[in-house]
Symmetry: C2
Subunit: 313 residues, 2 copies
């Protein structure tokens, strides 16, 4: 799957992923009105509004982006109906030929970790039948529990030819509270931050899982908001594909993104969520109006891609 | 909610929680047969089997344990139908007066973290209506992203009078890969493991949220498999309630559990999952047979409670 992702990035000349994080405040009134008219102001109504919103955006951008990244929290908040909208969104994206990165940040140990991996990337057995409940191509995973939490995801990803992105250095302001802490290595000059140790483990976990373009399907997440750390992490993890959130709305600048790429022009995929899916709410795209929200998203994808090409090129 | 949990623990003289982690291999054939007869060997059939299994166990143990801890991974592996079974399980447990700790290990930042908190502990707004999709009383949370990931959970827990347990030192063999790493503090003799720093943050996060019995509703998770670390963490976090997994099937011994409690006899709640819900598969309880699985679970809860009372008392 990492090979397919790279092929799509090359073909489109677009190392980007669109985050499908549909907050209710992003969804135009006409979409909500229609969904509520059918299902009432209920959880089912919310799920339908979320899916209809996503569908319109996907229809308008699927030829411009290799991948999408639905953030499951935004769906799970509506309970079972929200999770149903998540599953429908993933299926629809795959029908449209998009690679789907499930931003689920799951983590557990042993059989529980395996259950997450099976549900999201693999097949679950019921009696004599097998089902693929969520069908993502990649998922994000939290590393705090160590190898026991990661290995089941790698095993399932290997069997299913899928992949994962492990949180290394996250984009948020407080990510340094634990991730930046220097580890004691006997001598002052040897001390390194925790995220570097996590990065080294990501390299180790992924080393037997390299695809035909020289990249592992065990990837990493490093925030666009930390370009200096990104530069260092790019060096430590030369064969690791990096998913980079935090561009745009979170303050990450395109000029700092070059650090996340290798000299081959590959190695990173930049995410934008709000900047794309809620583009119509920005002054720059206000002329599209709420009715033209999906067209605004399309324009925003084009602008983002150009911005990144300029900076990386 | 931490006060209610403590009252129930005192009343029952049982600082225990039963983990509802229903692997398909735990569920007796007669339960699966019935569920599959109604729904086929489908994800809906799996969800029904899981719920029916849980329901029988809950009916047999709800008067013996203050709390249950469903592990959402075991439900989520069956997709939307599994998540529906999770929600039904939580609702049924609450009808029976049980406190529900959702073992979800969620983590994210900002609005995504808030979405998880709202969905699991709070109320989500749809149009003019509010809904509580999952209704747990506590959830487990992963701390790797720092305060940005934790604060939204604390805010919702405060508003809803609920609580959380933050992963500090997990029970699995590889938990030390990151959690035990010594942090550089300028001098060798000052270096402390990462889990102690996380523990100090848990104290800080919870300090304004202390209930009437002197415990915070911002709790911690520390594995029974690490009693020495448990002793140290008990000292560092005197007002923090500790959820202790790893007793029984994972190898944690009751004799080592005393360390997790304060002199007041409170401060910890010990979890057992497989040892209770799959008790009928153990030689000791084999005489119950598959038909008597729920009675076997009841006996196992009684035995566990006595074992812990002896060791702690």
């Amino acid at each position: 799957m990492i090979d397919l992702l790279i092929e799509k990035i090359k073909k489109m000349n677009a190392p980007i992923v669109v985050g499908l994080d549909p907050m209710m405040t992003f969804i135009p009134e006409q979409i909500k009105k229609k969904a509520f008219a059918e299902h009432g102001e209920t959880l089912a109504g919310a799920g339908e509004a979320v899916f209809a919103f996503n569908k319109a955006i996907i229809d308008h951008i699927h030829d411009l982006t290799p991948a999408v990244k639905p953030q499951i929290a935004m769906y799970e908040q509506f309970g079972t109906e929200g999770v149903k909208a998540f599953a429908k969104t993933v299926s629809y994206c795959k029908e449209k030929g998009l690679i789907v990165i499930g931003d689920i940040k799951r983590n557990d140990i042993g059989s529980s970790s395996e259950a997450y991996a099976i549900g999201h990337l693999g097949k679950v057995k019921v009696g004599a039948n097998y089902f693929s409940p969520f069908e993502e191509d990649f998922v994000t995973v939290n590393p705090y529990l160590g190898s026991d939490g990661i290995k089941p995801f790698i095993d399932v990803a290997k069997a299913e030819k899928k992949g994962l992105f492990i949180l290394v250095k996250t984009s948020n302001p407080s990510s340094g509270e634990f991730q930046d802490r220097l580890l004691f290595e006997g001598r002052t000059e040897n001390s390194k931050p925790l995220y570097e140790l996590v990065a080294k483990k990501v390299v180790e976990w992924g080393d037997d899982h390299i695809g035909q373009y020289g990249y592992s399907y065990v990837g990493a997440v490093v925030g666009a908001t930390y370009p200096e750390q990104g530069k260092r992490l790019r060096e430590i993890m030369p064969k690791v594909f990096i998913l980079v959130p935090g561009y745009g709305a979170q303050g990450g600048k395109a000029s700092a993104l070059a650090h996340f790429f290798n000299p081959d022009g590959l190695g990173a995929i930049i995410n934008s969520s709000r900047g794309i899916i809620a583009a119509y709410q920005e002054e720059k795209y206000a002329h599209f109006g709420a009715e033209g929200f999906a067209e605004a998203s399309r324009e925003a994808v084009i602008a983002m891609t150009e911005d990144i090409r300029r900076s990386v090129g």
